[in-house]
């Protein structure tokens, strides 16, 4: 399973994909091979089960939600292009200063990376992280020794810190602001992408 022109030929709209995601053709090839190795039944598409087969995701507390992020609403199968597009968000950010002001935001920009994280919280897709959604995620991430009361405290505090317009929920803008000191570009970048 090498990486060559024939592999590239199998992908739909390869050039468009390359342009949109910013991957090089060899990266696309490698991703394609990975896509196929995940695709056990050779359907050409991935469903959630294929993701579940990745063993390390089972012990990731947010594993299920991350998998869900790959699947847009009500869709249960994804093809390679959307797989690549989602992964493209995690490309390291290039420090190219010259950018036309009206060009579309690159897929791996800081905002898009943060959007991925935001979507993990915001399950009902209303554009806000409610108290409840935050509580759920916290419960996923914390061990058992934490009592309900403590969880509520932490949730309240988190929302308090971020909530600027007083609606007791965190919008995407507020989310971005609360993370302005964090070097998201480095944290959410995978080197080999």
């Amino acid at each position: 399973m090498g990486c060559n022109a024939s592999t590239l030929a199998k992908i739909h709209n390869v050039d468009e994909l390359i342009l949109e995601t910013g991957f090089s053709s060899s990266h696309i090839c490698h991703l394609y091979n990975r896509f196929h190795s995940l695709d056990k039944d050779d359907k050409g598409l991935l469903n959630r089960d294929d993701f579940q087969n990745i063993s390390e995701l089972a012990v990731n507390p947010l594993g299920d939600r991350i998998i869900n992020n790959f699947f847009p609403d009500r869709v249960d199968l994804i093809d390679f292009n959307s797989f690549a597009r989602t992964l493209a968000r995690f490309r390291p950010v290039e420090n190219s200063p010259k950018k036309e002001p009206d060009s579309p935001e690159p897929i791996n920009s800081r905002a898009n990376k943060l959007k991925f994280a935001f979507q993990l919280y915001d399950q009902d897709k209303d554009g806000k992280i409610s108290n409840n959604e935050l509580l759920q995620v916290l419960r996923l991430m914390l061990g058992v020794q934490v009592t309900e009361e403590q969880l509520d405290n932490i949730t309240d505090r988190t929302i308090q810190e971020a909530d600027l317009d007083g609606d007791n929920a965190i919008s995407f803008e507020e989310f971005k602001k609360s993370l302005e000191k964090v070097d998201v570009e480095t944290v959410l970048s995978i080197r080999f992408l």
Binding site: L31, L62, A117, Q136, Q150, N153, L188, I190
Partner: protein, 721 residues
Amino acid sequence: MVRLLALALVGFLSSRELAVSSAGDASFKTSEAHSNALDPRLHNGSELKVFTFDYTHVQAPFEIALWIMLASLAKLGFHLYRRLPAVVPESCLLIMVGLLVGGVIYGAPHQTSPFLSTDVFFLYLLPPIVLDAGYFLPIRLFFENLGTILCYAVLGTFWNVFGIGLSLYGICQVGPFGLGDVSLLQALLFGSLIAAVDPVAVLSVFEEIHVNEQLHILVFGESLLNDAVTVVLYKLFEAFCQMPTISAVDVVAGIGQFFMVAVGGVAVGIVYGFIAALTTRFTEKIQVIEPLSVFLYSYLSYLTSEMFHFSGIMAIITCAVTMKQYVESNVSQKSRTTIKYFMKMWSSVSETLIFIFLGVSTVRDSHDWSWPYISFTLFFCLLWRALGVIFLTSIVNKFRMNTITFKDQFIIAYGGLRGAISFSLVFLLDDFPRKKLFITATIVVILFTVFVQGMTIKPLVELLEVKKTRKAPPTVSEEIHCRLLDHILAGVEDISGHWGQHYWKDKFQYFNKKYLKTFLIRGDKQPNSSIVLFYQKLEKKHAFEFNESEELIRPPHPPGDCQKPAPSVSPLLPDELDSIRTILTRNLFHIRRKTPAYNRHTLQRDGNAEEMKEILLRRRQSLGGNLTRKRGGTSESDKELSKEKRLTRSHTVGSEHKPAVEVAKPLPSDIPASMCATGAGGMENGPGLNESTQSPGGSTRNRRDKPQKTLSFSFQNETQE
């Protein structure tokens, strides 16, 4: 205060050793004076002595034991004073102790200072360290970077050897330095022994700086694999020094020899690895000899390959890597722990002894100092290493997905420490006029690299890292969100996979599973699914923990359950904030560690095992919830929810309702095998097993009822896959 005590103890011991050895000498002489071999318990053959002192009888093992005790006490002493190991790496401290002891011995009258004899080093001190390194090698990472590592090891060493050798020769030709008697071949010979990066030194220094795992494996892998090149070049040049003329045929023979050394070493290692694995297959009744067989076979592989003048290091590493997965499946839990612990113990002692002896051997009479030679040696070592790394990296980066940045290159170049291997090789040289000069130069280079580079590499690494200037401690939301981001990263990295040669890995895994494992692993321990093993272990653990801990998992609230009234926006008190922070730091799940870090001092304890257990149980819970939803809820599911701790309960649910399992989300069908071991094994087995778990082996399991009844749940899953 305690440190002083420890040092005083060390000093006392070493002087006592002096005393006993000199006393030993004296008694030996007097007994020789009595030409008849009299039993020392008799005095003049007529009286019976009540109290005797017979040192010569126990001299050799006694001194060895004293040295080892000195080594361990020195180590103990350093760690009592906590700040010291942070600043000065342990290797430096040990060399300093060695220098101290060497000085003491040197000052004593009729003592010849003990020095690191080459045989002792190569046959006794080096193998445990290399075995330890090979056994705990992160295999997947190693093979992913194998190309790069080989490039650095082979090409890099060649580059260094010829660079250093030729430039030193050039320096020697310069008249005023007075070094004209060093021939080209001798210079090249010196280059070959000084160029190689030493695994012992690298391990001990890199253990304390925490570079990313890829960098670590690059430098470390290089230090291990360059042994083949070093051995060949060293022997080649040594032979060439003897030969009057050198023809092209000899050079070709040299190249052929390189391949033979490398391939031969690996082959010997593989053979012994398989024999060891096969042996452990049958040791069910005599479990106490299992650790012994592991160590014996590795040591034998080393000795065998040294016998043929192959690369012993490569043999022992290959042996350890080969036998590890089979042996770990075959032997009992206690043996596994014993093996790991003993390995750590021996390698730790060995390393300490090596560094102490290095220090001791430095203090000798016969040094030949030549400023230009030594300073230029040092200079060229650094220069050629840097040039070599830069040059090779630029080539290698074209083939890699994951480019090596400048920072990495700097650390690779700077982390090229020389150590005891060069030292022993220089002693092994035949005597010729300039040998002392070479010895001195080698010692200087070793001391420089270990002390200067070893001590400064940590601050430099920290300097090169991107510094996040935080004025205020992170807010609670930042902490939470950052942890979220880390989990995301880990998850997406796992999804995007690791870009190794999947094709060959798949092929090997298939071959491994089909043939090797069935042959080499005991019948009842065939690891068809490591999730089975994992749950077995979990159950054992639960049986112990049942009475002690509280309920493990809270049932998850269904969504929308806890609508709260809008909280007041009053700022929390600082101590409440602190308490929140401590709750978070203590309880947030950790990111999965990809590779175990090397730790010379302890077996790495897999702190994540508890967390992973919890996460997995929660998932099973939610799966159980899925089951009940599909079946419309029964009383068994309630029992399941209330007694989550007893896995048996949930398993029996599954076994009764086979068809329901099909619709449930299948459990991830394998968990990395490392979670099974109490000490962290290699996570590297995980993705490899990914492909191999959908196995017909599940069906064979079903036939065996008794102990496996509890695990039938997961079996159903696998048979459905």
